[in-house]
């Protein structure tokens, strides 16, 4: 039994990987084509001739470098804010015990359920009153204020799984909750931190709605907003659109690859004392 499984599983995985890659290959191939031949049939995977200039014209079509800086700044700060504030709040809903705790938590989930479209306008008005329009603040500050119900949820589930004995032992050793948070909860939850970082990166990096309505100066834009400029009423600049999209994917890939080391097996809580 074991031998068959050892062979079929890798084959399945590799086939699947190929399926996952195919549209990406199309993206790369499109980015190297002249806009006239993008939809031609039969499909030319390897463009002929190869048009590298898409990768150079994009720097002129929009202020890519500045957009990159802005995107990194906004995304980086958002990740930091999200991880720390959602961990903090989640701790309050898991390790700490108090009356009605779970009911209040359900209320937080409740807030996740309202479609963005309708609270967008009142939220916009609040930011206007605060004078934060045309700055990065509306995009960054909310991350520090709880980081989103979803992330709190994730941390809470994880914290709930920490065996009672460890917490009790720490309390008996005289540690305060802040210390427990810092010394035990956070270090143990590295996979969750990695996951939330990656998820937040993905969401913020590709988000264009926020930058669209809060930033009026073109120079303050982000990459996600910039690529929208390639989609026109009658025509879309496919080659450049794909070229920028591929470049946009690279930082996320790097982050993902690097953070993978936190997914090492053996990071266990039950069974061995830290």
């Amino acid at each position: 039994m074991k031998r068959i499984k050892n062979k079929t599983i890798p084959i399945i995985l590799i086939c699947g990987a190929f399926i996952a890659l195919m549209p990406i290959l199309w993206m790369i191939s499109t980015s190297l084509k002249d806009s006239n031949s993008i939809f031609s049939f039969p499909l030319k995977i390897i463009p002929d001739p190869v048009h590298w200039e898409n990768y150079s014209t994009i720097w002129k079509s929009m202020p890519l470098v500045q957009y990159f800086k802005n995107s990194i700044l906004i995304t980086g700060l958002t990740i930091i804010g999200t991880v720390f504030s959602s961990a903090l709040v989640a701790y309050g809903f898991s390790i700490l015990e108090w009356k009605n705790r779970d009911k209040v938590f359900i209320f937080i989930i409740f807030t996740m359920m309202i479609p963005l479209q309708v609270i967008m306008v009142p939220v916009f008005v609040i930011f206007k009153q605060l004078g934060w329009l045309n700055t990065f603040k509306p995009l960054i500050v909310p991350a520090f204020l709880g980081g989103g119900a979803f992330n709190i949820f994730l941390f809470r589930q994880f914290f709930l799984n920490i065996p009672r004995e460890i917490i009790d032992a720490a309390k008996m050793d005289g540690l305060s909750h802040f210390q427990i948070f810092k010394e035990i909860a956070l270090p143990i939850s590295k996979p969750v931190i990695a996951t939330i970082s990656i998820l937040t990166f993905m969401f913020t990096w590709n988000d264009f709605m926020g930058p669209l309505i809060y930033l009026s100066d073109q120079i303050k834009g982000t990459l996600a907003l910039g690529i929208m400029m390639f989609v026109g009423q009658h025509q879309t600049e496919w080659g450049e659109l794909m070229a920028v999209s591929i470049l946009m994917m690279l930082p996320m890939l790097i982050v993902f690859f690097v953070f993978q080391k936190y997914f090492i097996r053996g990071l266990m809580i039950g069974g061995s004392k830290s």
Partner: protein, 291 residues
């Protein structure tokens, strides 16, 4: 340090956030749902008229609920099972596993607009990838996005492509948190792989699955981008999802009041569904750290 104060400190980010950016928008959107309001001018109070119209005179409301329910009903289980299976397969520390995980992760980081464009091409009935492959097997592929019967399945298939994304990561983390001693004890007792899965693995990760099914249902009920870019609700309203309909009302019909009423109805529905899930979880979900 008094306990109440402690709790307050830990919860303070969320409390501040909600007090400033939560309560006001919530209350305002509720107020707007009782008004006719176009964002640019003052709201006009009309009482329950929006709600009455939605529930009695609006065929699109029911169509969009049906579409969204269909989509959610198929997408959530398929995606969760898919990501779980993938997580199990990728939970090996063999050479090249990091590269494989990255490849599977790739599709989920492509921005919504680009993704939609790619899939519009894949689903092209004549020159798209899927129908060409089906052609190799002698099958005549359907019109996909142009066919009212196949448009939703097409979007569900599209969602499956990202099963290697964040969801799988979370499952992977959960799998890796299952204590090794549990497995060792099980093997010593002489159990086989399937029993091990159902008696150890599944219960241990059930909180995460539960968590994700709640999130996935909520997210699924708010599906928007794909329908907005690829089909605009068609053909024949087959992809008119609730959130898309809401958006049309808010920003194309300039009827934010009606859209707000729709939003609150969605909230009520989602709340019921989520509460039902929480209730079910008491039977199926196992928490390690709880008394």
């Amino acid at each position: 340090m008094p306990k109440r104060f402690l709790i307050f400190i830990f919860l303070s980010p969320w409390i501040i956030g909600f007090a400033t950016f939560g309560i006001y928008p919530f209350m305002m959107s509720l107020y707007y749902s009782f008004c006719q309001y176009d964002v640019l001018q003052i709201p006009m109070f009309i009482g329950l008229e929006n709600y009455k119209n939605i529930l009695t005179k609006d065929p699109y409301f029911w169509i969009s609920i049906k579409n969204t329910a269909y989509y959610t009903f198929f997408r959530v289980p398929l995606n969760i099972v898919g990501s779980l299976l993938l997580a199990i397969l990728l939970n090996q520390m063999v050479k090249g596993i990091r590269i494989l995980r990255t490849i599977y992760f790739l599709p989920s980081i492509i921005s919504g607009v680009v993704l939609s464009v790619i899939w519009m091409w894949i689903f092209n009935p004549q020159i798209g990838l899927i129908n060409i492959i089906l052609g190799f097997f002698g099958l005549n592929g359907p019109l996909w996005l142009q066919d009212p019967q196949w448009s939703k399945p097409a979007l569900i298939i599209m969602s499956l492509w990202s099963i290697g994304g964040g969801r799988m990561l979370v499952f992977l983390a959960a799998l890796q948190n299952i204590p090794k001693p549990l497995y060792e004890a099980f093997e010593m007792d002489g159990g086989n792989i399937y029993q091990r899965f159902f008696h150890i693995t599944l219960p241990m990760i059930s909180p995460v699955i539960f968590l994700w099914s709640i999130i996935e249902v909520i997210a699924s009920m708010q599906v928007f981008t794909e329908a907005f870019i690829m089909t605009k609700g068609g053909p024949l309203d087959s992809t008119l999802f609730y959130n898309l309909y809401l958006y049309n009302k808010a920003f194309e019909d300039f009827n934010m009041g009606y859209a707000s009423a729709l939003a609150w109805i969605l909230l009520a529905i989602t709340l019921c569904v989520t509460l039902a899930q929480f209730h079910l979880s008491k039977r199926y979900v196992y928490y390690e750290g709880q008394k």
